[in-house]
């Protein structure tokens, strides 16, 4: 049964140095509160899995938490890769960063294979050059027809972290609105940490709604506002100014350092 705990306890207990940790959610339900706790706890050498790598990835990379990034798109609101990420890739600052680049559909297939505990998933070929540079994707022959298909290695994060609207006191979780990769990423992981806007006595989901049953949830944390500045369907809209302004902080090592100091001082 999932434990309902505070954020520091949940992140501290579940995410260790060197872990593979997936933080998913794009534009909607982005788990910023949990990411900032990783910064405060000074986690190091993480393999960060984040398909749509945005400001959250930029913050963790700039803070020195990450040594490998698995992603399929990396851009801020201006459509360009964020500056801390580029500084790590181009200048090893604050530390060298290894990348593993996939596509969104391949990330989905890797999570699905991980969730089903099979060694790899299969997608149709696209002709992209990526398999020449990425070790977890390769062309194989279908054993039944002999046709060429693409195999992608299962992805099993040590921990997946997502944000949701609400959970009940048993730790069942309901997600409303766009659900992205989160459902697959939670089922793929060895442990799942869910931050929520509110904890209620009983959920009242519509039939067919996306629910993460307590059996796949390790820890639930009440973190109202925990996805800001992204949006939470039914709770709040994106803070577009904060999302845009990040580019100025990220562009300058000193301004980023000030952000980091302020972040480390708040817990």
């Amino acid at each position: 049964m999932p434990k309902i705990v505070d954020l520091t306890t949940a992140v501290g207990d579940l995410v260790h140095d060197g872990a593979t940790v997936a933080l998913e959610g794009v534009d909607h339900l982005v788990p910023y509160a949990a990411a900032h706790e990783l910064v405060r706890l000074r986690r190091r050498r993480l393999t960060l899995v984040r398909a749509s790598s945005d400001q959250l990835t930029d913050q963790l990379v700039g803070a020195g938490c990450v040594d490998t990034l698995v992603f399929s798109h990396a851009a801020g609101p201006d459509g360009r890769p964020p500056a801390r990420l580029l500084d790590a890739l181009g200048h090893d600052w604050p530390a060298p960063l290894r990348i593993e680049e996939h596509t969104h559909p391949v990330m989905a297939a890797r999570y699905a294979a991980g969730a089903a505990r099979v060694p790899f998933g299969v997608v149709r070929d696209t002709g992209t050059d990526l398999p020449h540079h990425t070790p977890t994707i390769t062309s194989i022959r279908c054993p039944f027809t002999g046709s060429a298909v693409t195999a992608v290695a299962a992805l099993v994060p040590d921990v997946t972290v997502v944000h949701a609207q609400r959970a009940d006191r048993d730790g069942n979780v309901e997600i409303r609105g766009p659900v992205g990769l989160q459902r697959d990423a939670v089922h793929a992981a060895r442990a799942a940490l869910v931050t929520v806007e509110e904890i209620v006595d009983a959920l009242d989901p519509a039939p067919g709604a996306v629910v993460l049953p307590k059996a796949v949830v390790t820890a639930v944390v009440a973190a109202p506002g925990g996805a800001a500045p992204s949006r939470v369907h039914g709770f709040y809209e994106p803070d577009d100014a904060a999302l845009r302004d990040w580019a100025d902080i990220s562009a300058d090592r000193r301004r980023f350092g000030a952000w980091l100091d302020a972040m480390a001082g708040t817990s």
Partner: protein, 256 residues
């Protein structure tokens, strides 16, 4: 009503690529605006599917295009595994859009390089990466690319093939086992390029109002062929422009 911006012209031209009843897969920016504009103008039965997993989004006439309205007006939301597997890979997307990626390369065969400029391991510029562009170009029934027309971006050959358009010529898609027609139209802020049916090479088929052919050639890094019947893009009417501006009141501030 003020004259249309370059981005609004691009949105109209992209919208005209949508046929009624088509299932369209769109991401943020011009592609989403184009598909919803098409629903308001000439393709009311188009089924708009967003990369967020929102399926069959039916905005109401006065709805602006925002993440919230898209989420609220979707018939259903599916996981990205379902979206990319059961919809795109399975062949249920008729028309896929690939939007503008700053710094990305596009070549004369409509291949897209949105991972790096230069060598992969020592790039001169790191770009955002594929998103779902490789699969959209490979698996949708047809693809429309929306991109700013700049010499730096329109190259003879991409440094890195993130997404295959027409490969190195008209036979490559079949050899690679790709579905569909691939890129059928490239909509830029200067004009429209379409693959030559014989060679698959992109040819200039239209220029936007106020743009001349030499301007387009000057921003293209290969010897751009021009269709003998090259057209001038028709200006949107006041009604059409009003419809777009209800969708995207601030469209001039956003990147496509």
């Amino acid at each position: 009503m003020s004259v249309p911006t370059a981005e609004e012209i691009m949105t109209f031209v992209a919208a005209r690529a949508v046929r009624d009843g088509q299932v369209c897969l769109v991401g943020h920016g011009i592609p989403a605006a184009a598909a919803h504009l098409a629903r308001r103008l000439h393709a009311p039965a188009a089924v708009v599917v967003h990369e967020s997993g929102a399926v069959d989004v039916r905005l109401r006439d006065d709805d602006p295009l925002t993440d919230a309205t898209v989420a609220d007006r979707a018939l259903t939301h599916v996981t990205l595994g379902s979206l990319y597997g059961e919809w795109l890979q399975a062949g249920r997307v008729d028309l896929g859009f690939v939007g503008h990626v700053p710094g990305a390369q596009l070549d004369r065969y409509a291949n897209i390089g949105s991972s790096v400029v230069g060598e992969y391991d020592e790039p001169t510029e790191r770009l955002p990466g594929p998103g779902a562009a490789a699969e959209i170009a490979a698996w949708a029934g047809e693809t429309v690319i929306v991109v700013r027309h700049r010499l730096q971006a329109f190259v003879e050959q991409v440094d890195f093939v993130t997404a295959v358009g027409h490969g190195t010529g008209p036979l490559d898609r079949a050899l690679l086992g790709l579905r569909g027609r691939g890129p059928v139209r490239v909509v830029t802020d200067l004009g429209v390029l379409e693959p030559d049916p014989q060679t698959a090479e992109l040819v200039l088929t239209a220029v936007h109002p106020g743009i001349d052919v030499e301007q387009v050639r000057a921003e293209t890094g290969w010897d751009l062929q021009v269709a003998p019947d090259v057209r001038t893009t028709p200006e949107p009417t006041g009604t059409e422009l009003a419809a777009l501006r209800t969708l995207r009141p601030a469209s001039t501030e956003e990147s496509p």
